[in-house]
Amino acid sequence: MTPNIVELDNLSFGYKNRMLHKGINMVFPRGKVIAIMGGSGSGKTTLLRLIGGQLKPSKGEARVEGEVVHQQNRAGIHKLRRKMGMLFQQGALFTDLSVYENVAFPMREHTDLPESMIHDLVLMKLNAVGLRGAHKLMPTELSGGMARRVALARAIALDPDIIMYDEPFAGLDPISMAVICDLIRTLNDALGATSIIVSHDVKETFSIADYVYFVANGVVAAEGTPEDLRKSDLPFVHQFVHGEKDGPVPFHYAAGDYKQDLLDFKAP
């Protein structure tokens, strides 16, 4: 058994002429909560998709349990994905299925368990996220925080080895944020899984992560424990962690001369 359940080795990825990642190296040791942080559009979610095999790297490789993800055939990819659970940014619950059926979905698809056992497992998973009482509701009847928790219950339905979280705190009220935060840590430790969190919420992420990678301009700009990064003097990390308006990440998007732009008015 490799000590690192996921490894990104010199990984590069881009769309057409724009390279999003240029030689990313990351390791995700078993049992840890690892965060990938960075500004919007820095390719954090893309890294999750590369680990999940939904995208193929231009160079380098992503390895899960020692297996190179992009070299797998369809059956191999499916085998790897059964070891993963993923929480999408907006939950991505199936809107035509009830909360109960959403959580039961992976069990029905991948196991031959009897209905009575699926019933017990679904209620156990929902109980773990505090929503056993909501099992009859439809996704449209849930608040954003509740939908995220149901999606989390679905992500852990098959007790995955790796749980990936795509912006789990985005758009949540402080109470829901604290609940999700606590659940990520608790479930990771209870299931003995490895969690990969993609987020730009510094406070919440630092409170539960064991190790943090900062991604900027397509490379790992900084890495370390939350404590190390809080003390970091690196300009980018300092600007990000302390939420400063200007710094290495400029306030203004690249533009030409301001005066010239104002004078260049042409009637549409």
Partner: protein
Amino acid sequence: MIKSNLLAGLVCTLRSIGHKFSDSVWRLGAGARLFGLTLAYSGESFRRFHLTVREIYFTGVMSLVIILVSAFFVGMVLALQGYHTLQRYGSAESIGVLVALSLLRELGPVVTALLFAGRAGTAITAEIGLMKATEQLSAMEMMAVSPVSRVIAPRFWAGVISMPILAALFSMVGILGGYLVAVPMIGVDAGAFWSQMQANVDWQVDVLNGVIKSLVFGVACTMIALFEGYDAPPTAEGVSRATTRTVVTSSLAILGLDFVLTSLMISM
């Protein structure tokens, strides 16, 4: 100066035409690929036939009202128009044959398919487009479940099964509408209406060819709706454009295919 401007304009137009042409070829290829995948994954959707039955309800049963009401009025108008023409030649009793043949050979399959594209096709495109926009299809992929097998194939077979049944019901209700106008309202002899219809409608040439047409339209309409939804950019504008394209492409495909099929059927 004028010459170089003209040349630049010409190059721009040619480039635009070339781009549109290559885009169309690409979309045709992607559509054919999705069609192939749908057929390849059909086995799985037949094993879980309840998914297809559910979709038959949403695409077929829910389209019944618009199709049956339209059929009734189409049949009545056919009888009125037909009577006014036929009576000039003293063959008003042939009105039953005219109504039945028009419906079974042409109007039944074609109008049903056009209405199906507008009612069920747009619903399919919008549903799949929104599933894509809300990451439901991605979530399915990450759970090692193929969206083609779970979402696309059941909807495809539901459309293919529904269309001939809807077309048959359209013809049946249309004939009933024609009968109500021709016999009780205009006063055509009921015996002549039914007996001439029975004597002149051929099972293979008229009925079976109509069924074949509706089957082909079912494949085309449903596949176009599915492809447009699956290929839609995951934005509100993308889904809206895809829904419009479904109606336009399906309508043109139905009318084009109708001409091809009619030519083949007449020449055989």
